[in-house]
């Protein structure tokens, strides 16, 4: 344990946290603008240039609102729930490599060897925030939202975990930096255009990888409560769902927690399927700090592109019915992910 390690880690934590929180605020703004533009509206464009100061206005409004607490709630859990909704989502990003190296320091906060398992373990804690919010509010609509959320999370966590197994069969390691390194050597998992691209076995593998990607993407949508899987907060059915009884910044925490979860989800998808911070032709940070910065920029550009995809999907598709959601999760994605593992295993047996 030396001081350089502690110092760089602290700097990385503060830098990444600040950046992700900023990105989150602008994700909210982007969501509003994108949804508006897709519906031929304009969206918030008044505060600052093109509405870019809108997140600050929103934050100010949330902070200044009355901290209203309904009378019959279970106070302890009622206050715990918003934190629980936000914290797991932030923590998971710590194992994601968001850049190569900068001045010789690897751009990942915790390069642990259980990588993706840690992500699943922590991300699934996020459901406690929602369930506790629904339960402690002592009101039937939030309760229904919480119940829906727990069953939805359990159903989709399965396909989430099964969908990534093929990747780790291929890479042979759970460490996320190794996953990225593998993709640098062999091409992005869903688009192996470089490396030894004449190898037909790689192209064969790209098909189950694509299936994995689709299943994983859909499961992430369900995990982050985004439409078409936003049943826990279905406004039209549940009057807002699990956060109905929350006001001011406590509501804001749920709201922002959802966006942080979206950013983390995108970051994980980028790491697993889109080669992380790698872009063909751009060397890593050991060739100069400018490339280290470019790597980070590439990573977050990919993340933003995925966030846009999430928004695009949200403003296109209607919400699933409850039984459809369950059937989809248990009868389709679970099986597809399971079969996919065997396909990859068979391909690997013949190719390697």
């Amino acid at each position: 344990m030396n001081y350089v390690f502690i110092g760089t880690s602290l700097a990385k934590i503060i830098g990444l946290l600040g950046f992700v929180l900023g990105l989150m605020n602008y994700a909210v703004y982007a969501e509003r603008r994108v949804s508006a533009l897709m519906q031929d509206r304009l969206g918030p464009n008044r505060v600052g240039f093109a509405g870019l100061a809108q997140p600050f206005a929103d934050a100010g409004k949330f902070l200044l609102k009355e901290q209203f607490t309904p009378a019959q709630v279970n106070k302890f859990y009622y206050f715990l729930a918003p934190c629980l909704a936000m914290i797991p989502a932030i923590i998971t990003i710590s194992v994601v490599p968001f850049g190569s190296t900068l001045f010789g320091v690897p751009m990942v906060i915790a390069d642990i060897n259980v990588g993706i398992l840690f992500v699943f373990a922590i991300a699934s804690l996020g459901v406690y925030g929602i369930v506790l919010a629904g339960w402690s509010s002592n009101s039937k609509y939030p309760f229904l939202g919480g119940v829906r959320s727990s069953s939805q999370m359990i159903s989709y966590e399965l396909s989430l975990a099964l969908a990534v197994i093929p990747i780790f069969m291929l890479v042979g390691n759970l460490r996320l930096t190794n996953v990225v390194q593998y993709q640098i050597d062999n091409g992005w998992l869903i688009a192996p255009f470089f490396g030894d691209w004449t190898n037909p076995g790689k192209w064969l593998l790209a098909i189950p990888m694509l299936i994995s990607f689709v299943v994983f993407l859909i499961a992430i949508l369900a995990e982050t409560n985004r439409l078409p899987f936003d049943l826990p907060e279905a406004e039209q059915e549940l009057a807002g769902g699990y956060h109905t009884e929350y006001a001011s910044m406590k509501f804001g925490m749920f709201f922002l927690g959802e966006y942080i979860a979206m950013i983390t989800g995108s970051a994980i998808i980028v790491t697993l399927f889109f080669g992380g911070w790698h872009f063909p032709g751009i060397p890593d940070g050991s060739h100069g700090w400018i490339f280290g910065l470019i790597n980070i920029a590439v990573f977050f550009t990919k993340v933003c592109a995925l966030i846009f995809l999430f928004m695009w999907v949200r403003w296109t598709l209607p919400r699933f019915r409850w039984d459809q959601l369950m059937r989809l999760g248990w009868l389709f994605f679970f099986e597809i992910a399971l079969v996919n593992i065997f396909i990859v295993a068979i391909i690997l047996m013949f190719v390697h």
């Binding site: 994108v34 533009l37 897709m38 519906q39 031929d40 509206r41 304009l42 695009w312 999907v313 403003w315 296109t316 598709l317």
Partner: protein, 176 residues
């Protein structure tokens, strides 16, 4: 009576849902790009762009008092509008015109004429009931103020909005 809703039988392609989802995504992105490149123009950004020149003739905006071509306030303080106004937005204090005045035979004029624009519902009853055609609904619609008092239009303000109305009632002419 129970109604059985017929469910369409989807073929395998429709049941895959993916073509429909792709079509939907294509539609939304088309709207998105059209907006980005300014090909769709739906919203009118209010304070900068206004629709004022297109307001129809029968548009009912803020009620206002008018003067006639002699510069006299047309209102004779009969208080019919005060009586008919559904939300009771109008308050009139009648005054007497001095016998030496040129318009002495009109006898009354409004000493004070207040319309509370917080109450006014722009119904146009006052315009309809007025025997003197002294009150009209103009095309002003952006009535704002920081206090309740700001929102009460006094006589000066009403006359300012109203301006001069030509013709129509000439019964108080000297020659008649």
């Amino acid at each position: 009576m129970a109604i059985t809703v017929p469910r369409p039988n989807l073929n395998w392609r429709e049941r895959l849902y993916l073509p429909a989802i792709a079509a939907g995504l294509a539609i939304t992105i088309k709207h998105f790009t059209n907006m980005i490149f300014g090909r769709t123009k739906v919203t009118m950004e209010y304070p900068e762009e206004k629709w004022d020149s297109n307001l129809p003739d029968h548009y009912r905006g803020a009620p206002a008092l008018v003067r006639d071509t002699d510069g006299r306030v047309r209102c004779v303080a009969c208080q019919l509008c005060e009586f008919i106004c559904p939300p009771r937005a109008i308050k009139i204090v009648p005054g007497e015109i001095s016998p030496t005045d040129r318009f002495a035979k009109v006898e009354k004029f409004p000493d004070a004429f207040d319309i509370d624009m917080i109450r006014c519902i722009y119904c146009g009853m006052c315009e309809e009931v007025c025997p003197e055609q002294a009150i009209y609904l103009r095309k002003d619609y952006a009535i704002t103020g920081f206090t309740r008092e700001d929102m009460v239009h006094h006589k000066d303000k009403l006359l300012e909005i109203g301006g001069v109305m030509h013709g129509v009632v000439l019964k108080w002419n000297q020659r008649k």
